[in-house]
């Protein structure tokens, strides 16, 4: 049994997440550019990154503001994108089990798609990582996000477009790699196919937008896994 100290776990997560942090930094710079168009100050962007810390929802909210939608519309759209985080934090309950309240608050706030998925991937490869690995990855992304978004506002006229660099695909590729490492074989086949099928139907039929298709797809796959008799 390889047990590691909280500090070792924290820093190994920082190292493992660095390719993803690079992608986050490029998005942070580009988001700063958008925020400058919304006439947001460095202070506002810094505070937003610190207390919201959910990139996709921040980008959507500010994009709506720039498009002239009201504050209400911007907030509702951004919250809809973040509803999946309820499932994300619920799905790693052992990480938060029996932790003091201040660690729950930090752990909850530091959970993002990237460090959550990376921790699961490390576990699937047989490493015994948990809370401090999650928080280490989260802290690295947190610093990267806040610094890069503030820099994006400050140097708004010297920022490359992530899409032109192909960086928008960095996260798609990362999640494909992480899905691969989570694959446990045959028991996953039916739930995963149900998830993919649900997303395809919901999205392509135009019944649901991408935020809700994602949530429904995740829930339907998990539901099938729960109902299947297994072990």
């Amino acid at each position: 049994m390889n047990t590691s100290t909280p500090s070792q776990e924290f820093w190994s997560a920082v190292k493992d997440i660095s390719p993803l942090a690079l992608g986050v930094a490029i998005y942070g710079l580009a988001f700063g550019l958008l925020a400058a168009q919304a006439a947001m100050s460095e202070l506002q962007i810094g505070v937003m990154g610190t207390i919201v810390f959910a990139g996709a929802s921040q980008i959507l909210a500010v994009e709506r503001l720039v498009a002239g939608a009201g504050a209400m519309t911007a907030v509702v759209a951004a919250i809809a994108i973040n509803l999946r985080m309820l499932l994300v934090t619920a799905s790693i309950r052992d990480v938060y089990k029996d932790r003091p309240w201040w660690q729950l608050i930090i752990g909850a706030h530091m959970t993002t798609d990237e460090n959550w998925a990376l921790m699961l991937s490390a576990r699937a490869k047989g490493r015994s990582v948990g809370y401090w690995y999650l928080v280490g990855g989260g802290a690295c992304l947190f610093v990267t996000w806040v610094v890069s978004t503030v820099c994006g506002v400050m140097f708004a006229n010297a920022i490359p477009d992530p899409k032109a660099l192909g960086m928008d695909f960095a996260f798609t590729a990362a999640f494909i790699a992480i899905a691969r490492s989570l694959w446990r074989g045959k028991p996953d086949l039916l739930p995963w196919l149900v998830s993919i099928g649900t997303v395809a139907i919901a999205l392509l039929s135009g019944m649901l937008d991408s935020s809700w298709s994602l949530i429904l797809g995740g829930c339907m796959g998990a539901l099938i896994a729960g109902l299947l008799p297994h072990e």
């Binding site: 506002q44 503001l65 608050i105 590729a173 990362a174």
Partner: protein, 95 residues
């Protein structure tokens, strides 16, 4: 107070409530039986759903790059290598 500050504060409060809500919900659900099996399967299903949304929102370029990334991931199980392969293919296809 300006619209921007309202958006920031309301979004921050809602996002934290969602994250903390999941933490508390996870502690409340049963640890055996169908609920536990569903919760164990949830991460994989969510990630597969996320990849499906991302690829279906794109076009043929994204599908080709996604297939290459999947092939690299399948055989290498390596995160940075899969990211590099995906970015390189999409960059080449979009030129």
């Amino acid at each position: 107070m300006s619209d921007t500050w309202v958006v920031i504060l309301v979004l921050a409060a809602a996002t934290f409530s969602i994250r903390m809500g999941g933490v508390l919900l996870g502690q409340k659900l049963p640890t055996t039986g169908p609920w536990a099996r569903a919760l164990n399967a949830l991460p994989g299903c969510l990630i597969v759903s996320l990849v499906s949304v991302l690829l279906l929102s794109g076009g043929p370029n994204e599908w080709i790059a996604g297939s290459v990334a999947l092939a690299v991931a399948w055989f290498s199980r390596n995160l940075p290598l899969t990211m590099l392969a995906g970015i390189a293919v999409i960059f080449f296809l979009r030129r």
